[in-house]
Amino acid sequence: MPLSRDQLAMRAAKELRDGYIVNLGIGIPTLVANHIPAGADGQKMDVWLQSENGLLGIGPFPEESRVDPDLINAGKQTITARKGASFFSSSDSFAMIRGGHIDMCILGAMEVSEKGDIANWMIPGKMVKGMGGAMDLVAGVKKVVVTMEHCSKDGKSKIVPECSLPLTGRRCIDMVISDLCVLKMDHDKGLFRLIEVAPGVTVEEVKARTAAKIIVEGDVPVVGV
C-alpha cells in the first residue's frame, strides 16, 4: 500500500529533532506539525516552526474569539504565536533562511532530479503564480526534505534523470519521502539511495517506477509509520 498523505507527514516528522527550527511548506508539509514525535524525556519534542512572513514559533490555530488579521502564516491562514515566539521583518526572515539558521524545511515538488535538483514553481505555458519563498528555502536551509507523490496522475515518474520543468534550485535536496519510498541523498556519490520502501511495495516496484538512477544496496527496510 502506498503511503497516505497523513503517513507521508508522519514519516517526514521522524526527521525532526529536539530543538529544531523548521519551515513547513503548504499542503502535506503543513500536516507534519500534527505529528511531532516525543523526545528523549517522553515529552513532545520541542520544535520551533518558522513562518517566512516573519514569525518564529507558530502556535495552533486560534479560538474563534482570538482570530487576529495581523497574525497569519505564509499560507495566509490565521494562526497564533507560541510562548517564546518572535516577530520580524521579511528581510530578517530571509536572512534567517539564507544564512543557514533554519535546521530543516519540508516542501512539495513537481519534479526532483537524480542529483537533487528540484522544480516546483512553474509550468511553461500555464499561469505562473510565482516562487514565493521556495528558492530561498532550498538555497539556504541546512536540510531540505521533499514530500511528494512518486508518480504523476498519468503514471510518469516524478523522480527523473534531469528536470524538464524550470528549476527552483540545483543540487539542494537531501531527502525525498514519496508514497512509495524514502530516498536519501548520498553526497559522496551525488545520487539518492533507497533507504525505505512503503509497506507492501517491493524494491523492484520502486525501481520500475523511478526514471532516475538511484542507489539500491542490501536489504531495504519498510517505512515505519
Binding site: D70, G75, K76, S89, M131, M135
Partner: protein
C-alpha cells in the same frame, strides 16, 4: 517640531504629487504580505489620484476587489515586481493576455533588494536562484559560504584562510547570483502606531515588507491605526525611525482576512 500627520490618505498622496515624484510611470512600493499589513486607504487614494503606467513593487497583488487588485481593475499598473500572485483572477487575465508585465523575484531576494536599496547598497550576491532562470542574464560567481570564509575572504583565490567544513557539500565554493538594490519614487507602508515625527511601530506579522520599504523610496507615506504623542513610544521598540517617513495618516482599516482558520 513640524508634525507629519496629515488628515487623509488623499492629502498624503497629494504631498507625493507636490514633490513631483508621484506621476504617470512612477515606481511605487506597497507593503504587506497577502492582505496582512497592507496600506488599504493609501492604495485607494493612489487609485483615485489617477496616475497611470505604474510599476508596483509588492510581494503580492491583492485580491480582485481589495488591495492592489483595485489598481489592476482600473489598469493603472503596467508592471509588477512580486514573488507570488496566486489569489487574483483579474491579474491572471492581464498576465495571460500580456497586458501586464510581471517580474518574479524569489521572496527573500525581493526583501533583500529593497533592504539594500534603502541602505545604499547597489547590488549583492545571493545563492538563491543560482542555476535557475532567475540567474539568466545576471552575473554568477563562485564563492565560499560566509560561515566558511572565516576571517573575511569568501572569494576563492583571494586569500581564503578559513577552515573547511565537515559536511560533504561544505568547504566548496558555490554559485552566487548578483542582484541589484531597489529604490522607488513612493512607498506606501502600513504600521500600527506612529508619532508626529514619523516613528513607526508595526504589529505582529503585519510588519513583513513594510520596514524595508519605509527606507527605500523618495517619499514614504505611512498609514497607521493610532497616532500617539511624541515621547510616548519607547525608543527601544521603534521599528522605523521617524526620519524615513514623510507623512502619517490615521485610518480605521478593514483588515480583511484571506483564510480564516480556527481551532477545531
Amino acid at each position: 517640531m513640524r508634525t507629519k500627520v496629515v488628515n487623509s490618505a488623499v492629502e498624503a498622496l497629494a504631498l507625493a504629487k507636490a514633490r513631483g515624484v508621484l506621476k504617470d510611470g512612477a515606481t511605487v512600493m506597497v507593503g504587506g504580505f497577502g492582505l496582512c499589513g497592507i496600506p488599504e486607504h493609501l492604495i485607494v487614494a493612489l487609485r483615485d489620484s489617477g496616475v497611470k503606467r505604474l510599476t508596483c513593487i509588492s510581494n503580492n497583488a491583492g485580491v480582485d476587489d481589495f488591495g492592489l487588485g483595485l489598481l489592476l481593475k482600473t489598469r493603472q499598473i503596467a508592471k509588477m515586481i512580486s514573488s507570488y500572485v496566486g489569489e487574483n483572477a483579474e491579474f491572471e487575465r492581464q498576465f495571460l493576455s500580456k497586458e501586464l508585465e510581471i517580474e518574479f523575484n524569489p521572496q527573500g531576494t525581493l526583501a533583500e533588494r529593497i533592504r539594500a536599496g534603502g541602505a545604499g547598497i547597489p547590488a549583492f550576491y545571493t545563492a538563491t536562484g543560482a542555476g535557475t532562470v532567475i540567474a539568466d542574464d545576471k552575473e554568477t560567481r563562485a564563492m565560499l559560504r560566509p560561515s566558511e570564509g572565516i576571517g573575511g575572504a569568501t572569494i576563492p583565490g583571494r586569500g581564503f584562510g578559513g577552515r573547511s567544513g565537515t559536511a560533504p557539500q561544505s568547504g566548496q565554493p558555490r554559485d552566487y547570483v548578483l542582484e541589484t538594490g531597489l529604490y522607488a519614487d513612493v512607498a506606501l507602508v502600513k504600521a500600527w502606531k506612529a508619532d508626529a515625527f514619523g516613528n513607526l511601530v508595526y504589529r505582529m506579522t503585519a510588519r513583513n515588507f513594510n520596514p524595508m520599504m519605509a527606507t527605500a523610496a523618495s517619499v514614504v507615506l505611512a498609514e497607521v491605526e493610532e497616532v500617539v504623542e511624541v515621547g510616548t513610544l519607547d525608543p527601544d521598540t521603534v521599528h522605523t525611525p521617524g526620519n524615513y517617513v514623510d507623512a502619517v495618516v490615521k485610518t480605521t482599516p478593514e483588515k480583511r482576512i484571506e483564510q480564516k482558520t480556527v481551532r477545531k
